[in-house]
Symmetry: C2
Subunit: 368 residues, 2 copies
């Protein structure tokens, strides 16, 4: 693959110096920002993530901040998930859809206060959608991208590491909850969350200039825990069934197709955009849906475009959008969108990869 | 610089196979799509662009299509440029701003018919802003991203090459006008426009599968014209004063700061978003503005972040966001945003680059 050309438009992060010192080998671009993809090798990073602890620059998870008297009403307009019971200090994974029910983003929303929310976004300029809605509805809410850069600490030793830097109070933070913790005089949101299933936290670093001091403090404190710079790992996230917006779902897909129907409370989330379309979908059910696919393969090429999925006779029944070889499970692991005629566990399928068809079958669940 | 990791999210284009066969060496990501940045070397590509003809994959200039009875009204809401006199067959460079007058995109709008427009966008998800406005205002207009991929033909021999493939009719297409021309049974928009000052066309290729046949036809027809695969060239675009959204301007900037005040008809473009804010700016004038800066340098490092610009005493008076070494002009060329106290032609400035300060002065105009 070719190199990536530097420009201001592909924004550096508060942690870019740390990534470079740690020998980052590959990048992707996410929300107009650099996101590391590999340090030692994807396989070595994967093994290390499952055994130790990594610090990830996920500054590209930009925040859309809603602030003002209409912030809560706006947040509920944006998602079909019923947020009425949500309290300050809670995180919620929320599908956001357009008026047809097509996915615009799948962020985590953080309720900071009744009148203040952060939406920690996947890779689309959600800010523009939100600003358009606010303008059209003349809502009393300020919408902006604050100077907040998430830094994830992931892996089985993540809690120990974060406790060393932020104190033992972080141990009491439950999954998808957050608290405010101090680092060198700045109070920051620390949430138990992250884009892996190995456990850990996301620190919403407040202020660009606080980035490298915190990075260095974590690296220093975690030396005996074998802490390393890391990044979301392709293999681990597929094993864990963590979808990637732009890869596994786009505006073409409803939340129900993405297996996110449980986050759609179309009966009660009154006033949300896309409710009418999704009410229909929730009654009828989707005709294709995300599935874990196990590939009978000893190598898996990079999945840089849609791979068709066919039945044995060559009829198209779905597609694969993420794939890798799993060292731990000794097979290829993939995320695909499969028609209902072929989505039952055990169904045999052919993945039409660039090097020819690969035998595969539908799994009941993801691996992790 | 590190390599770019492949994924479906960084979309390939109809012409990616052509780029790869031509030995593309670098990419950037633009509107979630791959955009080549260099083939032979930036300097060699630059010389060739000024002498011969190149075919550029600019599929990343995605189209936002507006279709329906409210399309014209919506288009005028989106920009402070007065579009009332615009006729079908015309292109217009249009600043698009938010309610505060901050730049959201700087696309070219194409009027296909009274009720059908394309907005050929720079690097932000403008579709989401437009959809939000349409939803809020309940406008009768369909907004979507059609299967259209622009292919640019640029350089002094561009007209000859395009005429060989589309016929001599293209020679009559004036600057920023377009016509419909046939290629292998498909009618396509061919506009005299492009992101260089070397002359040429942009072909709005209709249908992914028509991409490589057209690419190959152009390469075949232009063999004796020394046609090569190319891409927007960093040096040439700076010399030509072609701004890059995300590099030289962002949502922080008004059109007036970007030197685009002549495209803002705030007295007559009634109903446009941001009118009140821009009316104020147009009365008072900006306090900083885009300038061409000439650097006294024999090498210029990659400008991958904002470089501060100071006066001789070290006071910050602006910033540089694009820079390169110009072979033709024998100096460094840069685009900067400079405070009014220091923006007069000839003013001496210091560019605080990564390797130390560089002497520079403000120019009256860009180079090309």
């Amino acid at each position: 693959m070719a190199t990536i050309s530097p420009s201001r438009r592909l924004r550096r992060t508060p942690f870019s110096d740390g990534n470079e010192a740690a020998g980052v080998k590959g990048y992707t671009v996410y929300n107009h920002m650099l996101l590391p993809t590999v340090f030692r090798s994807i396989e070595e990073d994967y093994r290390h993530l499952k055994q130790a602890v990594q610090v990830w620059d996920v500054a590209c998870e930009r925040q859309v901040e809603l602030r003002g008297p209409d912030a809560g009403r706006l947040m509920q307009m944006l998602t079909p998930r019923d947020l009425r019971g949500m309290l300050p200090g809670q995180c919620a994974y929320v599908p956001l859809v357009d008026e047809t029910g097509g996915m615009l983003n799948d962020p985590v929303a953080l309720k900071l206060a009744e009148d203040r929310w952060w939406i920690s976004i996947a890779d689309s300029d959600l800010l523009l959608w939100v600003k358009g809605i606010v303008y059209g509805y003349r809502l009393d809410v300020l919408v902006d991208e604050p100077d907040i850069a998430p830094l994830a600490v992931q892996g089985p030793k993540a809690e120990d590491l974060v406790a060393r830097v932020f104190g033992d109070g972080v141990r009491k933070v439950r999954f998808f909850r957050f608290g405010w913790f101090e680092f060198e005089g700045t109070w920051m949101v620390v949430a138990r969350s992250g884009y892996s299933k190995q456990g850990g936290f996301e620190i919403y670093v407040d202020g660009f200039d606080n980035g490298m001091p915190l990075w260095n403090a974590l690296m220093e404190a975690g030396r005996d825990l074998d802490v390393h710079a890391g990044c979301p790992n392709l293999i681990e996230r597929i094993e864990s069934g963590l979808l990637s917006y732009g890869n596994d779902m786009t505006r073409e897909n409803t939340p129900h197709e993405c297996g996110l129907g449980r986050f759609c409370d179309t009966q009660t989330a009154i006033g949300c955009v896309g409710r009418d379309a999704l009410l229909r979908v929730s009654m009828e059910g989707p005709v294709r849906q995300i599935r874990a696919l196990e590939l009978d393969a000893t190598s898996v090429p990079p999945c840089d475009r849609i791979w068709n999925v066919t039945d044995a006779r060559g009829a198209r029944v779905g597609r694969v959008t993420s794939a890798a070889l799993s060292p731990d499970f000794g097979c290829g692991v993939a995320i695909g969108m499969v028609r209902m005629t072929h989505w039952d566990p055990g169904t045999h399928l052919l993945i039409q990869g660039p090097d020819g068809p690969i035998d595969a079958h539908v799994r009941e669940t993801f691996w992790n």
